[in-house]
């Protein structure tokens, strides 16, 4: 027997976020077992996630049993705003962390009675970069962009849009006022995620909400 003292290279080839993905798989299994459709909502700050959720909680209150877990920096409290429509809303305080991860969702789940829910919204922190890396165990991911943001956002944040199951263009009631270029925006969304369904709506006027409600229920958009 001899000894060698060569420095060693260890080949690893492992996903850096494998621990998150493992927890996400557990969350997904829990949702599936309880028959809950979990929807991860991502957007820039101010794109209208909370307004859309308020409208959804209000309009579907009689027909869909919904809950919301809201990722917030400590200073905000969207959960209180959402509770007024009768659904359970819990705040996940992310502190300095700019995204939800699978552990945060796992930790908040015991506060919900999943068997009593049809849909659980996971409202991510307002940010189009970081949330894209973190699977939460959701069944579907919705990415929102408002008509008041630049039409080039889908190409500036390719990962977020590339992981979307649906892209929602919000604040369509403001489209004309802000000179929103609808065709350009749709073209850029399709470049970021060819073939992804696009829903145009206004939470204020109610236009386009039917398609969003269908998506919420898990129907084809």
């Amino acid at each position: 027997m001899t000894t060698t003292q060569a420095p060693r290279i260890v080949t690893v080839r492992q996903n850096i976020l494998k621990a998150n993905d493992h927890t996400a798989a557990g969350n997904r299994a829990a949702f599936r077992a309880a028959g809950v459709r979990a929807i991860n909502l991502a957007s820039s700050p101010g794109a209208g996630k909370t307004a859309l959720l308020e409208r959804t909680l209000r309009d579907l209150a009689g027909s869909v049993r919904m809950g919301v877990a809201v990722g917030d920096l400590a200073t905000e409290n969207d959960a209180a705003r959402l509770r007024q429509w009768g659904s359970q809303a819990e705040q996940i305080v992310t502190g300095t962390v700019c995204h939800l991860d699978a552990d945060m969702v796992q930790n908040i789940l015991p506060r919900f009675d999943l068997d009593a829910l049809d849909v659980l919204f996971l409202e991510n922190v307002g940010n189009l970069v970081c949330p894209s890396s973190y699977d939460l165990g959701e069944a579907a991911r919705a990415v929102l962009i408002s008509t008041t943001e630049g039409e080039d956002k889908p190409l500036k944040y390719p990962t977020m849009f590339n992981t979307a199951d649906v892209v929602v263009i919000t604040k369509m009631d403001l489209a004309d006022a802000v000179g929103f270029d609808r065709e350009l925006c749709r073209e850029n969304i399709d470049r970021a995620r060819p073939g992804v369904p696009i829903i145009e709506l206004s939470s204020r006027s109610g236009a386009g909400l039917d398609a969003w409600f269908a998506f919420t229920r898990g129907e084809r958009v």
Partner: protein, 120 residues
């Protein structure tokens, strides 16, 4: 920015590998970051040293290899994509919906710091 979170996860994965290798320390590690991974290599490199303090990765050099996006064009086969133009073949503009590569975020390899005594 979430590069600090990514750096911490990287350190967790690497520390586990080091434990499996007899508690060795690392002198360098190589990660592969895809153009569609949403991770900025410079930010990850900047975040890593502080996150590594007090871990077996402290002082290790981080090599970040960026992986360009590659799509599959029906006409042109595998094509290198430009993130600013999205998932479109640069030659003909056809949609290339599936990333063949470019969404990686992985620890590729670790160089162990102290040579280990090995039976051969």
């Amino acid at each position: 920015m979430h590069e600090a979170s990514i750096a911490l996860s990287l350190i967790d994965v690497a520390s586990e590998v080091l434990r499996e290798n007899g508690g060795a320390r690392a002198s360098a590690l190589t990660v592969r970051v895809g153009a569609w991974s949403s991770v900025v290599p410079e930010a990850l490199t900047a975040a890593f040293p502080a996150c590594a303090q007090g871990t077996p990765l402290e002082g290790a050099h981080l090599n970040v290899v960026t992986v360009p996006g590659v799509g599959e064009c029906p006409t042109h086969g595998p094509v290198t994509l430009d993130v600013r133009r999205g998932l479109r073949c640069p030659a003909c503009g056809a949609p290339t919906p599936t990333l063949v590569q470019g969404d990686e975020l992985e620890l590729d390899e670790i160089e162990l710091a102290e040579p280990q005594l090995e039976e051969s």
